[in-house]
Protein backbone atom coordinates (compact mmCIF):
# COMPACT_ATOMS: atom_id res chain seq x y z
CA UNK A 1 0.00 0.00 0.00
CA UNK A 2 1.37 3.39 -0.96
CA UNK A 3 1.65 6.50 1.22
CA UNK A 4 -1.01 9.18 1.22
CA UNK A 5 -1.18 11.21 -1.96
CA UNK A 6 -4.32 13.15 -1.13
CA UNK A 7 -4.29 16.93 -1.48
CA UNK A 8 -5.78 18.84 1.45
CA UNK A 9 -8.25 21.60 0.57
CA UNK A 10 -7.98 25.03 2.16
CA UNK A 11 -9.45 24.98 5.67
CA UNK A 12 -12.32 27.31 6.49
CA UNK A 13 -10.87 30.02 8.74
CA UNK A 14 -13.07 32.26 10.89
CA UNK A 15 -12.24 34.96 13.47
CA UNK A 16 -12.44 32.42 16.31
CA UNK A 17 -10.02 29.98 14.68
CA UNK A 18 -7.67 32.51 13.00
CA UNK A 19 -5.00 32.43 15.77
CA UNK A 20 -4.63 28.69 15.23
CA UNK A 21 -4.11 29.03 11.49
CA UNK A 22 -1.79 32.02 11.86
CA UNK A 23 0.39 29.90 14.17
CA UNK A 24 0.15 26.95 11.78
CA UNK A 25 1.60 29.16 9.05
CA UNK A 26 4.63 29.57 11.36
CA UNK A 27 4.81 25.83 12.03
CA UNK A 28 3.43 26.08 15.56
CA UNK A 29 0.64 23.74 16.73
CA UNK A 30 -1.78 25.38 19.16
CA UNK A 31 -4.50 23.88 21.30
CA UNK A 32 -6.91 25.55 23.68
CA UNK A 33 -6.88 25.04 27.44
CA UNK A 34 -9.49 26.21 29.93
CA UNK A 35 -8.24 28.07 33.01
CA UNK A 36 -11.46 27.28 34.87
CA UNK A 37 -11.43 23.47 34.62
CA UNK A 38 -7.82 23.02 33.60
CA UNK A 39 -8.64 20.75 30.67
CA UNK A 40 -7.46 21.02 27.09
CA UNK A 41 -10.00 20.57 24.30
CA UNK A 42 -10.15 20.16 20.53
CA UNK A 43 -11.20 21.73 18.17
CA UNK A 44 -10.32 25.07 19.76
CA UNK A 45 -13.21 27.34 20.62
CA UNK A 46 -14.02 30.39 22.73
CA UNK A 47 -16.12 28.65 25.38
CA UNK A 48 -14.76 25.44 26.89
CA UNK A 49 -16.99 22.55 25.69
CA UNK A 50 -16.27 20.71 28.94
CA UNK A 51 -17.26 23.38 31.51
CA UNK A 52 -18.50 26.28 29.31
CA UNK A 53 -16.19 28.83 30.88
CA UNK A 54 -14.95 31.48 28.45
CA UNK A 55 -11.61 31.68 30.26
CA UNK A 56 -9.77 29.70 27.58
CA UNK A 57 -6.22 30.34 26.39
CA UNK A 58 -4.07 29.22 23.46
CA UNK A 59 -1.25 26.87 24.35
CA UNK A 60 1.55 25.61 22.14
CA UNK A 61 1.63 21.82 21.97
CA UNK A 62 4.44 19.54 20.79
CA UNK A 63 1.67 17.70 18.90
CA UNK A 64 2.56 14.24 20.15
CA UNK A 65 0.13 11.45 20.81
CA UNK A 66 -1.15 8.01 19.86
CA UNK A 67 -3.46 6.75 17.13
CA UNK A 68 -6.92 6.13 18.66
CA UNK A 69 -8.39 4.71 15.46
CA UNK A 70 -8.07 5.07 11.69
CA UNK A 71 -9.46 3.94 8.36
CA UNK A 72 -7.73 3.70 5.01
CA UNK A 73 -9.97 4.81 2.13
CA UNK A 74 -9.82 2.48 -0.89
CA UNK A 75 -6.46 0.92 0.02
CA UNK A 76 -6.28 -0.94 -3.30
CA UNK A 77 -6.83 2.18 -5.41
CA UNK A 78 -4.06 4.35 -6.87
CA UNK A 79 -4.93 7.13 -4.39
CA UNK A 80 -5.49 5.69 -0.92
CA UNK A 81 -5.35 7.89 2.17
CA UNK A 82 -5.65 7.35 5.90
CA UNK A 83 -7.93 9.31 8.18
CA UNK A 84 -8.17 8.79 11.91
CA UNK A 85 -8.20 10.21 15.39
CA UNK A 86 -5.05 10.97 17.37
CA UNK A 87 -5.25 11.29 21.16
CA UNK A 88 -2.84 14.05 22.11
CA UNK A 89 -0.73 13.64 25.22
CA UNK A 90 -2.61 16.68 26.60
CA UNK A 91 -5.85 14.64 26.49
CA UNK A 92 -8.13 15.57 23.61
CA UNK A 93 -8.48 13.56 20.41
CA UNK A 94 -8.52 15.13 16.97
CA UNK A 95 -9.36 14.07 13.43
CA UNK A 96 -6.45 14.08 10.99
CA UNK A 97 -4.65 12.37 8.11
CA UNK A 98 -1.61 10.15 8.46
CA UNK A 99 1.38 10.83 6.22
CA UNK A 100 4.99 9.77 5.59
CA UNK A 101 4.26 6.11 6.21
CA UNK A 102 3.19 2.89 4.55
CA UNK A 103 -0.56 3.05 5.16
CA UNK A 104 -0.64 -0.73 5.67
CA UNK A 105 1.65 -0.34 8.67
CA UNK A 106 -0.64 1.95 10.69
CA UNK A 107 -1.69 0.57 14.07
CA UNK A 108 -3.95 1.72 16.88
CA UNK A 109 -1.75 2.84 19.77
CA UNK A 110 1.10 3.87 17.47
CA UNK A 111 3.02 7.01 18.53
CA UNK A 112 2.67 9.89 16.10
CA UNK A 113 3.76 13.52 15.89
CA UNK A 114 2.24 16.53 14.17
CA UNK A 115 3.62 18.11 11.05
CA UNK A 116 2.14 20.70 8.75
CA UNK A 117 1.17 19.98 5.18
CA UNK A 118 0.45 22.65 2.55
CA UNK A 119 -3.20 23.02 1.58
CA UNK A 120 -4.77 24.15 -1.67
CA UNK A 121 -4.58 27.93 -1.22
CA UNK A 122 -4.98 28.08 2.54
CA UNK A 123 -2.78 27.89 5.63
CA UNK A 124 -0.95 24.58 6.22
CA UNK A 125 -2.95 21.89 8.00
CA UNK A 126 -1.88 19.63 10.87
CA UNK A 127 -1.32 16.01 9.85
CA UNK A 128 0.48 13.26 11.73
CA UNK A 129 3.41 10.99 10.96
CA UNK A 130 4.93 8.07 12.90
CA UNK A 131 7.10 9.42 15.72
CA UNK A 132 9.96 6.95 15.27
Amino acid sequence: MSPMSRKIPAPAVNPESKPFWDAAAEGRFLIKRCNACGQAHWYPRLACPLCFSDDTVWEQSPGEGTIYTFSVMRPDSPTPFAIGYVTLDEGPSLLTNFVDCDLASLRIGQRVKVKFQPTEGGPPAPVFAPAD
Binding site: I8, P11, W42, R45, P49, T69, S71, R74, A125
Partner: protein, 390 residues
Protein backbone atom coordinates in the same frame (compact mmCIF):
# COMPACT_ATOMS: atom_id res chain seq x y z
CA UNK B 1 -46.05 12.90 31.04
CA UNK B 2 -45.46 9.92 28.82
CA UNK B 3 -46.48 9.27 25.21
CA UNK B 4 -47.16 5.63 26.07
CA UNK B 5 -50.36 4.67 24.30
CA UNK B 6 -51.16 8.27 23.32
CA UNK B 7 -50.75 7.74 19.58
CA UNK B 8 -50.86 5.07 16.88
CA UNK B 9 -49.31 4.53 13.47
CA UNK B 10 -52.28 4.76 11.13
CA UNK B 11 -50.57 4.44 7.77
CA UNK B 12 -47.22 3.75 6.14
CA UNK B 13 -45.89 3.76 2.58
CA UNK B 14 -42.53 2.91 1.10
CA UNK B 15 -42.13 4.37 -2.37
CA UNK B 16 -41.22 1.47 -4.67
CA UNK B 17 -38.92 3.52 -6.88
CA UNK B 18 -35.18 3.11 -6.53
CA UNK B 19 -34.00 5.04 -9.64
CA UNK B 20 -36.06 8.21 -10.00
CA UNK B 21 -35.06 9.44 -13.46
CA UNK B 22 -38.39 11.09 -14.30
CA UNK B 23 -39.64 12.31 -10.91
CA UNK B 24 -38.84 15.42 -8.88
CA UNK B 25 -38.02 15.27 -5.18
CA UNK B 26 -41.19 17.18 -4.13
CA UNK B 27 -43.18 14.75 -6.28
CA UNK B 28 -41.67 11.77 -4.42
CA UNK B 29 -42.63 13.39 -1.08
CA UNK B 30 -46.20 13.88 -2.33
CA UNK B 31 -46.48 10.38 -3.82
CA UNK B 32 -45.24 8.92 -0.54
CA UNK B 33 -47.76 11.03 1.39
CA UNK B 34 -50.59 9.89 -0.89
CA UNK B 35 -49.53 6.28 -0.42
CA UNK B 36 -49.51 6.50 3.37
CA UNK B 37 -52.85 8.32 3.46
CA UNK B 38 -54.39 5.63 1.23
CA UNK B 39 -52.91 2.95 3.49
CA UNK B 40 -54.51 4.59 6.51
CA UNK B 41 -57.81 5.29 4.76
CA UNK B 42 -57.46 9.02 5.35
CA UNK B 43 -57.38 12.00 3.00
CA UNK B 44 -55.05 14.95 2.58
CA UNK B 45 -57.52 17.22 4.34
CA UNK B 46 -57.45 15.05 7.48
CA UNK B 47 -53.76 15.96 8.01
CA UNK B 48 -53.28 18.64 10.68
CA UNK B 49 -49.60 18.09 11.52
CA UNK B 50 -46.56 17.84 9.23
CA UNK B 51 -43.04 16.59 9.91
CA UNK B 52 -40.02 16.60 7.61
CA UNK B 53 -36.22 16.94 7.81
CA UNK B 54 -33.26 18.14 5.78
CA UNK B 55 -34.20 16.22 2.64
CA UNK B 56 -37.32 18.38 2.16
CA UNK B 57 -36.36 20.72 -0.69
CA UNK B 58 -36.47 24.51 -0.70
CA UNK B 59 -37.79 26.09 2.48
CA UNK B 60 -38.29 22.68 4.06
CA UNK B 61 -41.62 22.24 5.77
CA UNK B 62 -42.90 25.56 4.39
CA UNK B 63 -42.19 24.51 0.81
CA UNK B 64 -43.63 21.02 1.22
CA UNK B 65 -46.74 22.15 3.12
CA UNK B 66 -47.44 24.62 0.32
CA UNK B 67 -46.59 22.12 -2.46
CA UNK B 68 -48.96 19.51 -1.06
CA UNK B 69 -51.64 22.06 -0.13
CA UNK B 70 -51.67 20.97 3.51
CA UNK B 71 -53.55 22.92 6.17
CA UNK B 72 -51.79 22.10 9.43
CA UNK B 73 -51.74 23.51 12.93
CA UNK B 74 -48.49 21.85 13.98
CA UNK B 75 -45.16 21.36 12.22
CA UNK B 76 -41.68 20.14 13.10
CA UNK B 77 -38.59 19.90 10.93
CA UNK B 78 -36.08 18.62 13.48
CA UNK B 79 -33.00 17.49 11.56
CA UNK B 80 -30.99 14.56 12.90
CA UNK B 81 -30.01 13.07 9.55
CA UNK B 82 -31.38 9.64 8.77
CA UNK B 83 -32.80 9.15 12.25
CA UNK B 84 -35.05 12.20 11.86
CA UNK B 85 -38.14 10.24 10.80
CA UNK B 86 -38.01 7.86 13.75
CA UNK B 87 -37.64 10.91 15.99
CA UNK B 88 -40.53 12.57 14.13
CA UNK B 89 -42.87 9.71 14.96
CA UNK B 90 -42.02 10.24 18.63
CA UNK B 91 -42.48 13.99 18.30
CA UNK B 92 -45.79 13.43 16.51
CA UNK B 93 -46.94 11.26 19.41
CA UNK B 94 -45.94 14.07 21.81
CA UNK B 95 -47.83 16.63 19.74
CA UNK B 96 -50.92 14.40 19.59
CA UNK B 97 -50.73 13.76 23.34
CA UNK B 98 -50.57 17.53 23.87
CA UNK B 99 -53.59 18.10 21.64
CA UNK B 100 -51.60 19.98 19.00
CA UNK B 101 -52.70 17.73 16.13
CA UNK B 102 -54.51 14.42 15.54
CA UNK B 103 -53.27 13.26 12.11
CA UNK B 104 -49.53 13.81 11.63
CA UNK B 105 -47.82 13.22 8.30
CA UNK B 106 -44.08 12.43 8.15
CA UNK B 107 -42.39 12.37 4.73
CA UNK B 108 -38.94 11.68 3.33
CA UNK B 109 -37.77 11.62 -0.30
CA UNK B 110 -34.74 12.26 -2.45
CA UNK B 111 -32.79 11.40 -5.59
CA UNK B 112 -29.11 10.97 -4.69
CA UNK B 113 -28.56 8.70 -7.71
CA UNK B 114 -29.55 11.57 -10.04
CA UNK B 115 -27.57 14.29 -8.28
CA UNK B 116 -23.92 15.01 -9.07
CA UNK B 117 -22.12 14.61 -5.77
CA UNK B 118 -25.22 13.03 -4.25
CA UNK B 119 -23.33 9.91 -3.35
CA UNK B 120 -21.99 10.12 0.19
CA UNK B 121 -18.38 9.48 -0.82
CA UNK B 122 -18.49 12.22 -3.41
CA UNK B 123 -20.02 15.07 -1.53
CA UNK B 124 -18.11 17.65 0.50
CA UNK B 125 -17.57 16.58 4.08
CA UNK B 126 -19.85 19.24 5.49
CA UNK B 127 -20.92 22.85 5.34
CA UNK B 128 -18.10 25.41 5.51
CA UNK B 129 -19.83 27.32 8.31
CA UNK B 130 -20.04 24.31 10.65
CA UNK B 131 -18.02 25.13 13.77
CA UNK B 132 -15.73 22.13 13.22
CA UNK B 133 -15.38 22.71 9.45
CA UNK B 134 -11.83 24.04 9.29
CA UNK B 135 -10.57 21.38 11.67
CA UNK B 136 -12.34 18.32 10.29
CA UNK B 137 -13.73 18.70 6.77
CA UNK B 138 -10.31 19.02 5.17
CA UNK B 139 -9.28 15.43 5.90
CA UNK B 140 -11.44 13.64 3.36
CA UNK B 141 -13.78 12.10 5.88
CA UNK B 142 -16.76 10.39 4.24
CA UNK B 143 -19.47 8.22 5.69
CA UNK B 144 -17.35 5.19 4.76
CA UNK B 145 -14.25 6.20 6.69
CA UNK B 146 -16.17 7.66 9.62
CA UNK B 147 -17.80 4.23 10.16
CA UNK B 148 -14.64 2.36 9.21
CA UNK B 149 -12.93 4.08 12.14
CA UNK B 150 -15.65 2.84 14.50
CA UNK B 151 -15.26 -0.71 13.21
CA UNK B 152 -11.47 -0.53 13.53
CA UNK B 153 -11.70 0.55 17.17
CA UNK B 154 -14.44 -1.98 17.99
CA UNK B 155 -12.24 -4.76 16.59
CA UNK B 156 -9.29 -3.46 18.61
CA UNK B 157 -11.17 -3.30 21.91
CA UNK B 158 -13.44 -6.33 21.63
CA UNK B 159 -11.93 -8.64 19.05
CA UNK B 160 -14.85 -8.18 16.69
CA UNK B 161 -14.08 -9.74 13.29
CA UNK B 162 -14.92 -9.03 9.66
CA UNK B 163 -16.59 -12.45 9.54
CA UNK B 164 -18.97 -11.45 12.32
CA UNK B 165 -19.80 -8.15 10.59
CA UNK B 166 -20.41 -10.07 7.36
CA UNK B 167 -23.17 -12.10 9.05
CA UNK B 168 -25.22 -8.89 9.27
CA UNK B 169 -25.13 -8.49 5.49
CA UNK B 170 -25.80 -12.19 5.03
CA UNK B 171 -28.93 -11.95 7.20
CA UNK B 172 -30.16 -8.87 5.31
CA UNK B 173 -29.67 -10.66 2.00
CA UNK B 174 -31.67 -13.67 3.20
CA UNK B 175 -34.58 -11.30 3.79
CA UNK B 176 -34.13 -9.24 0.61
CA UNK B 177 -34.53 -12.27 -1.63
CA UNK B 178 -38.28 -12.15 -0.90
CA UNK B 179 -38.67 -8.40 -1.53
CA UNK B 180 -39.42 -7.67 -5.21
CA UNK B 181 -38.48 -4.01 -4.71
CA UNK B 182 -35.08 -4.72 -3.13
CA UNK B 183 -32.06 -3.47 -5.06
CA UNK B 184 -29.93 -6.48 -4.10
CA UNK B 185 -31.98 -9.70 -3.95
CA UNK B 186 -29.21 -12.21 -4.23
CA UNK B 187 -28.42 -14.21 -1.09
CA UNK B 188 -24.75 -13.77 -0.20
CA UNK B 189 -22.43 -15.79 2.01
CA UNK B 190 -19.89 -14.59 4.57
CA UNK B 191 -17.08 -15.46 2.14
CA UNK B 192 -18.54 -13.23 -0.56
CA UNK B 193 -18.65 -10.27 1.81
CA UNK B 194 -15.03 -10.86 2.77
CA UNK B 195 -14.00 -11.25 -0.88
CA UNK B 196 -15.50 -7.88 -1.86
CA UNK B 197 -12.99 -5.00 -2.09
CA UNK B 198 -12.13 -2.93 0.97
CA UNK B 199 -13.82 0.46 0.65
CA UNK B 200 -12.72 2.01 3.95
CA UNK B 201 -10.72 -0.36 6.10
CA UNK B 202 -11.85 -2.60 7.68
CA UNK B 203 -15.19 -2.30 5.84
CA UNK B 204 -15.73 -4.17 2.58
CA UNK B 205 -17.97 -3.11 -0.27
CA UNK B 206 -20.66 -5.55 0.94
CA UNK B 207 -20.51 -4.05 4.44
CA UNK B 208 -21.98 -0.88 2.89
CA UNK B 209 -25.62 -0.05 2.21
CA UNK B 210 -27.09 0.64 -1.22
CA UNK B 211 -27.57 4.13 -2.63
CA UNK B 212 -31.15 4.61 -3.73
CA UNK B 213 -33.62 7.24 -4.80
CA UNK B 214 -37.07 7.05 -3.33
CA UNK B 215 -39.10 8.05 -0.34
CA UNK B 216 -41.51 7.05 2.34
CA UNK B 217 -44.22 8.38 4.60
CA UNK B 218 -45.79 7.58 7.94
CA UNK B 219 -49.12 8.75 9.38
CA UNK B 220 -49.32 9.06 13.17
CA UNK B 221 -52.83 9.44 14.60
CA UNK B 222 -54.65 9.94 17.88
CA UNK B 223 -56.29 6.91 19.56
CA UNK B 224 -59.71 8.20 18.46
CA UNK B 225 -58.66 8.42 14.82
CA UNK B 226 -56.86 5.06 15.03
CA UNK B 227 -60.02 3.30 16.19
CA UNK B 228 -62.01 4.86 13.36
CA UNK B 229 -59.69 3.35 10.74
CA UNK B 230 -60.08 -0.11 9.30
CA UNK B 231 -56.45 -1.01 10.02
CA UNK B 232 -54.62 -3.10 12.63
CA UNK B 233 -53.87 -1.03 15.74
CA UNK B 234 -50.14 -0.27 16.04
CA UNK B 235 -49.66 1.61 19.29
CA UNK B 236 -46.64 3.77 20.10
CA UNK B 237 -45.49 2.90 23.62
CA UNK B 238 -42.02 4.41 23.88
CA UNK B 239 -39.71 6.83 22.12
CA UNK B 240 -36.52 8.69 22.90
CA UNK B 241 -33.80 10.67 21.20
CA UNK B 242 -30.20 11.58 22.02
CA UNK B 243 -27.20 13.38 20.51
CA UNK B 244 -23.54 12.37 20.72
CA UNK B 245 -20.39 14.04 19.46
CA UNK B 246 -16.67 14.28 20.17
CA UNK B 247 -17.48 17.14 22.61
CA UNK B 248 -14.07 18.66 22.86
CA UNK B 249 -12.31 15.40 22.12
CA UNK B 250 -12.17 14.44 25.80
CA UNK B 251 -12.52 10.74 26.45
CA UNK B 252 -13.35 10.02 22.81
CA UNK B 253 -15.04 6.61 22.59
CA UNK B 254 -16.24 5.50 19.17
CA UNK B 255 -17.37 2.05 20.30
CA UNK B 256 -20.79 3.27 21.38
CA UNK B 257 -23.46 5.44 19.77
CA UNK B 258 -26.15 7.76 21.08
CA UNK B 259 -28.41 4.70 20.96
CA UNK B 260 -26.92 3.85 24.35
CA UNK B 261 -28.82 6.90 25.63
CA UNK B 262 -32.02 6.82 23.54
CA UNK B 263 -32.50 3.04 23.80
CA UNK B 264 -32.77 2.67 27.58
CA UNK B 265 -34.97 5.78 27.78
CA UNK B 266 -37.39 4.37 25.18
CA UNK B 267 -37.48 0.94 26.83
CA UNK B 268 -38.17 2.58 30.20
CA UNK B 269 -41.07 4.56 28.78
CA UNK B 270 -42.48 1.48 27.06
CA UNK B 271 -42.09 -0.65 30.18
CA UNK B 272 -40.52 -3.50 28.22
CA UNK B 273 -37.01 -4.92 27.84
CA UNK B 274 -34.92 -5.94 24.83
CA UNK B 275 -35.72 -9.58 25.63
CA UNK B 276 -39.41 -8.85 25.00
CA UNK B 277 -38.83 -7.55 21.44
CA UNK B 278 -40.07 -9.87 18.66
CA UNK B 279 -38.75 -7.87 15.70
CA UNK B 280 -36.07 -5.17 15.34
CA UNK B 281 -35.60 -2.57 12.60
CA UNK B 282 -32.03 -1.36 13.11
CA UNK B 283 -30.43 1.31 10.95
CA UNK B 284 -27.85 -0.29 8.71
CA UNK B 285 -25.79 2.23 6.78
CA UNK B 286 -22.97 -0.25 7.34
CA UNK B 287 -22.77 -3.59 9.09
CA UNK B 288 -20.89 -2.00 12.01
CA UNK B 289 -23.80 0.42 12.49
CA UNK B 290 -26.08 -2.53 13.28
CA UNK B 291 -23.60 -4.25 15.56
CA UNK B 292 -22.93 -1.17 17.68
CA UNK B 293 -26.59 -0.27 17.97
CA UNK B 294 -27.65 -3.77 19.00
CA UNK B 295 -25.16 -3.51 21.84
CA UNK B 296 -26.21 0.03 22.70
CA UNK B 297 -29.89 -0.93 22.82
CA UNK B 298 -29.10 -3.76 25.21
CA UNK B 299 -29.77 -6.78 23.00
CA UNK B 300 -26.35 -7.98 24.15
CA UNK B 301 -23.54 -6.63 26.29
CA UNK B 302 -21.07 -4.06 24.87
CA UNK B 303 -18.41 -5.98 23.01
CA UNK B 304 -20.60 -9.07 22.52
CA UNK B 305 -22.18 -7.81 19.29
CA UNK B 306 -19.93 -9.87 17.06
CA UNK B 307 -20.94 -13.12 18.70
CA UNK B 308 -24.59 -11.99 18.86
CA UNK B 309 -24.97 -11.38 15.11
CA UNK B 310 -23.03 -14.44 13.94
CA UNK B 311 -24.43 -17.71 12.65
CA UNK B 312 -27.69 -16.28 11.35
CA UNK B 313 -29.01 -14.94 14.65
CA UNK B 314 -30.63 -12.00 12.82
CA UNK B 315 -32.36 -14.12 10.14
CA UNK B 316 -36.13 -14.41 10.47
CA UNK B 317 -37.14 -17.98 11.23
CA UNK B 318 -33.55 -18.95 12.04
CA UNK B 319 -32.17 -16.69 14.76
CA UNK B 320 -33.37 -15.15 17.99
CA UNK B 321 -33.70 -11.54 16.78
CA UNK B 322 -35.18 -11.13 13.28
CA UNK B 323 -34.02 -7.77 11.93
CA UNK B 324 -34.67 -5.65 8.82
CA UNK B 325 -36.91 -8.20 7.15
CA UNK B 326 -37.34 -5.97 4.08
CA UNK B 327 -33.62 -6.37 3.39
CA UNK B 328 -32.83 -3.05 5.06
CA UNK B 329 -30.47 -0.44 3.74
CA UNK B 330 -27.86 -3.11 3.09
CA UNK B 331 -29.99 -4.76 0.39
CA UNK B 332 -33.39 -3.14 -0.11
CA UNK B 333 -33.48 0.63 0.03
CA UNK B 334 -31.73 3.62 1.62
CA UNK B 335 -33.75 6.49 0.17
CA UNK B 336 -31.77 9.72 -0.09
CA UNK B 337 -28.99 8.23 2.08
CA UNK B 338 -31.34 8.23 5.08
CA UNK B 339 -32.59 5.03 6.62
CA UNK B 340 -35.02 6.08 9.34
CA UNK B 341 -38.37 5.97 7.64
CA UNK B 342 -37.95 2.51 6.11
CA UNK B 343 -37.13 1.24 9.61
CA UNK B 344 -40.48 2.44 10.91
CA UNK B 345 -42.34 1.10 7.85
CA UNK B 346 -41.03 -2.48 8.06
CA UNK B 347 -41.64 -2.60 11.83
CA UNK B 348 -45.27 -1.58 11.21
CA UNK B 349 -45.60 -4.24 8.49
CA UNK B 350 -44.36 -6.84 10.97
CA UNK B 351 -46.76 -5.71 13.71
CA UNK B 352 -49.67 -5.79 11.27
CA UNK B 353 -48.69 -9.22 9.97
CA UNK B 354 -48.17 -7.67 6.54
CA UNK B 355 -44.50 -8.53 6.03
CA UNK B 356 -43.64 -11.05 3.31
CA UNK B 357 -44.83 -14.49 4.51
CA UNK B 358 -41.29 -15.85 4.19
CA UNK B 359 -39.99 -13.31 6.73
CA UNK B 360 -43.08 -12.55 8.83
CA UNK B 361 -42.35 -13.08 12.52
CA UNK B 362 -45.12 -15.22 14.07
CA UNK B 363 -47.29 -13.42 16.66
CA UNK B 364 -45.24 -10.25 16.24
CA UNK B 365 -46.76 -7.98 18.87
CA UNK B 366 -43.75 -5.91 19.96
CA UNK B 367 -41.21 -4.22 17.70
CA UNK B 368 -38.47 -1.63 17.83
CA UNK B 369 -37.38 0.82 15.14
CA UNK B 370 -34.06 2.45 15.86
CA UNK B 371 -31.67 4.62 13.92
CA UNK B 372 -28.85 7.09 14.00
CA UNK B 373 -28.21 10.03 11.69
CA UNK B 374 -25.00 11.85 10.95
CA UNK B 375 -21.94 9.68 11.48
CA UNK B 376 -21.08 7.41 14.39
CA UNK B 377 -17.43 8.44 13.97
CA UNK B 378 -18.28 12.02 14.96
CA UNK B 379 -21.54 13.84 15.76
CA UNK B 380 -24.86 12.05 15.31
CA UNK B 381 -28.38 11.81 16.64
CA UNK B 382 -30.14 8.61 17.70
CA UNK B 383 -33.85 7.91 17.83
CA UNK B 384 -35.61 4.86 19.25
CA UNK B 385 -39.27 3.95 18.79
CA UNK B 386 -41.07 1.03 20.42
CA UNK B 387 -44.44 -0.06 19.07
CA UNK B 388 -46.98 -2.67 20.15
CA UNK B 389 -49.74 -4.46 18.29
CA UNK B 390 -52.93 -3.86 20.26
Amino acid sequence: MSIRGKAYVGGVYEHPIREATTQSTPQLHAESARGALADAGLTRDDVDGYFCAGDAPGFGAMSMIDYMGLKVRHMDSTETGGSSYILHVGHAAEAIAAGKCSVALVTLAGRPRQTPGGRPGARPAGPADAPEAGFENIYGGSTHTMYGMCAMRHMYEYGTTSEQLAWIKVAASHHAQWNPHAMLREVVAVEEVLASPIIASPLHRLDCCVISDGGGAVIVVSPEVARSLNRPLVKIIGSAEAPKGPRGGAGLDLTWSAGALSGPAAFAEAGVTPADIKYASIYDSFTITVLMQLEDLGFCAKGEGGRFVADGNLISGVGKLPFNTDGGGLCNNHPTNRGGITKVIEAVRQLRGEAHPKVQVPSCDLAIAHGTGGVLGARHGAATLIMERE
